[in-house]
Subunit: 148 residues, 2 copies
């Protein structure tokens, strides 16, 4: 549980208004186990603020993700994407524009599970995503901060 003052400070750091909704959404997210969806978060937040709107939950989750106050489990690319590269490879993914570039497997250290995964889980393959900001997006970012 986060003290009210802590949350206010966190918002201040990110230049966000410290609203009641915002705080409850944030605290609810970090209180939930696992990997909750916006719907799940909404259901729980509603118990504290029955009048809250699902759109507000969505808007704030987006805001938190953008500011890096929260992280999403794996990036959506807006639609299903099919792999056409048959060779073993991993992905270089831009968290800003979501572009995907293949990375030859030999560019990464060999990767092995050092311990057992939960018994009963049959491992098929290991996918590695190198996440970051691509050149085009860094350039955009630099331009933006120069302006302001």
């Amino acid at each position: 549980m986060l003290h009210k003052s802590n949350f206010r400070e966190l918002c201040h750091q990110h230049q966000l208004a410290a609203t009641h909704q915002r705080q409850v959404i944030y605290e609810t997210v970090i209180s939930l186990p696992g990997h909750p969806s916006p719907e799940t978060i909404y259901e729980k937040v509603r118990r504290q603020i029955p009048s809250i709107s699902l759109a507000t939950v969505y808007k704030n989750i987006r805001t938190f993700l953008h500011r890096g106050m929260l992280r999403e489990v794996s990036l959506h690319h807006g639609s299903l994407r099919v792999e056409t590269n048959q060779k073993p490879h991993h992905h270089l993914v831009c968290v800003e524009c979501k572009s995907i570039v293949d990375l030859d497997e030999n560019r990464l250290e060999p990767l092995r599970l050092s311990q057992k995964v939960p018994r009963g889980f049959e491992v098929k393959r290991i996918a590695v995503d190198v996440l970051g900001i691509c050149e085009a997006c860094s350039a955009k970012r630099a331009r933006r901060s120069k302006k302001s």
Copy 2:
């Protein structure tokens, strides 16, 4: 490019009818560069079969993915999922039911980029997904094959 006979055989192996649409969709996918979406595939397939329906493209891509004839870039969980575990960790993901379990980072060999990623790409973090079939889904699978 795949010979017609090869595709027929491939379909036969997977107990699928070798229809013209099926073949054109499959060949189009493997001919496209990068990580095409169903829309992109549809646009290109349409040049060869103008009367084809988007639903057919979706149905067949699903079929191919299920049979393992194609692979998707990264799994959708149906909705956005927020990370609540603050400790560094990776994910154990069931490709069947899409359940996600956290895996402590120390269960994996330390992972480093052994060579440079394309210059200009600023790496933020590396996400590792261990993909496979969870215990519950293997059980279901076993039951299914016993029945038939």
